[in-house]
Amino acid sequence: MPTWAQFVYLLCAVCFILALKGLSGPKTARSGNLIGAAGAVVACALPFFYVDDMDNVALILVAVAIGTAGGAFGAQKVQMTQMPQMVALFNGVGGGAAALVALLELEHFVDTDIRAVYLIATAFTILVGSVSFAGSIITFAKLQELMTSRPVVFPGLPVVFGAALVGALALSGVTVAEPVMWAGIVLALVGLAVGVLLVLPVGGADVPIVISLLNAFTGLTVAAGGYVLQNTVLLVAGTLVGASGTFLTLLMAKAMGRSVANILFGALKGGSTLGAGEASDRPVRSAGPEDAAIMLNYADRVIIVPGYGLAVAQAQHALRELVDVLNERGGKVDYAIHPVAGRMPGHMNVLLAEAQVPYEQLKEMDDINGDFKDTDVVLIVGANDVVNPAAKTTPGAPIYGMPILNADEAKQIIFMKRSMRPGFAGIENELLFDEKTTLLFGDAKDSMSKLLKAVEAL
């Protein structure tokens, strides 16, 4: 490889560092992303200029065009509410690509005296790339509700999972000892099985953590692939993503008060399947939009707790209008954003930003939790688990230990709900039966428009 090409690769690697750095600050995030994109495009274009005997150029360009069109179409069409599963899907295909690249490299190594380190890296890439691919597809299916979002556990799952892991290690051993194609292909298939089995027992609310973890996995496979191909920019970019992705996973798990091990294997121990998943028939107090409007209109301090249901119903625009009216009339209104509101940390901020809610009104949990006890009305829209007191009071509940918004401390609570069905985590919410709570049943968008009209009429 000519020196100038190596130099350009180095610049691309620097671009990725700057991209991650930029993405971690609100002001620099967008430019950071663009710097990363620029680095990636340049790096991918480079082989066409320095590789002398490059074959199949036309076919490669067609393949790139197809992939580009597919990616652009998906990125353009996806709704903001479906962002997490889109990230999962993109991550999965990346892992799949890495596994295929490693399989092709393995083919080059067959019948050669290649050193074991390369074979270890190759086997790692095949295995973990396949895990990431299959795991991501299952997370996609769970979030898109193509399958149940509840933990899927069957008797003997730990045994099957263990057997698959042992099989994967044995096949990796075979591949390293003597590079043969069949071992690599079976290793990829076993990797797919491991990925499926890894994600099946994870409950819907925890899936975002798994996406982040699989993202880090894919990063590491790309790094190992970079070593196999002896390409620095792949190694550096993959390692950056692997390291920062692992760190980000730990940050997210901490925000939910969970350990990663508990999230992955909690359901296997049987402890975290407490959720009944059914509607209860205990008495609740419900009211119409007019009553709720009066409560809100005469409150001095209101806190809104938005959840995923708000965004699914596309009620965030009506909600913003309601808050504007209340603010005009002198009430102090803020949004309390739980770190995992929506489906991923920071997801709710994206969704509310889409509805042009001013940044200053969005308060993070730690900043606003002390305010609830002086709050007249809390309006909970499409949220459930993030205000569920079971997180504090019920050891054994899937969300036990997760920090929650202290909505239960407010003087009055209005719960906007479509039905009495439990939240994403599948557990009943005691707050619904609290005597301070008033329920407003109906589709969030419909209820919100009625509530807005009722408040305006007062």
């Binding site: 990725f16 560092i17 991209a19 991650l20 993405l23 971690s24 600050g25 995030a29 950071g32 990363g36 990636a40 790096a43 991918c44 590789v51 074959d55 199949n56 150029v57 490669i60 393949a63 790139v64 992939g67 580009t68 597919g70 990125a75 353009q76 962002m83 993109f90 991550n91 990346g94 690509a97 295929l100 690249v101 092709l104 380190v117 982040s212 990063g219 496979t221 790094a223 692939g225 970079g226 920019v233 792949l234 190694l235 550096v236 970019a237 993959g238 993503v241 692997g242 390291a243 920062s244 992705g245 980000l248 940050l251 925000a255 920071g346 901020n349 930003a353 889409e354 042009q356 001013p358």
Partner: protein, 105 residues
């Protein structure tokens, strides 16, 4: 210094840089950051292109081209979707921004 030690050095330093650069991220940006990191590992497209460029045809070429397609989806889709998310963060600073969100994204 042997070649492998150089690679190990790249790896270890990248681990520390990777953790260091995102250590101060606020939870507001977790989703875009995850999505952006996801796009960066789409650089496997480079690996797929290199492999496809040296494939001899037949099954190997076909598999390599599939890898190119998948990796391109990861890379292009990843960066575009991250930009779409971040676009919303910047829009709100200019308060009631007129409907100019048609282009780009």
């Amino acid at each position: 210094m042997s070649n492998d030690i150089i690679w190990l050095t790249f790896f270890v330093l990248s681990v520390f840089v990777g953790i260091e650069v995102i250590s101060k991220v606020s939870s507001t940006l977790h989703t875009p950051l995850m999505s952006g990191a996801n796009a960066i590992h789409g650089i496997i497209l480079l690996g797929a292109i290199l492999v496809a460029g040296s494939a001899d045809g037949g099954i190997a070429l076909f598999v390599a081209l599939v890898a190119v397609v998948l990796a391109a989806v990861n890379m292009v889709g990843g960066f575009l979707v991250t930009d779409r998310m971040l676009q919303m963060f910047t829009q709100r600073k200019k308060k009631p921004a007129p409907e100019t969100s048609g282009e780009a994204g």
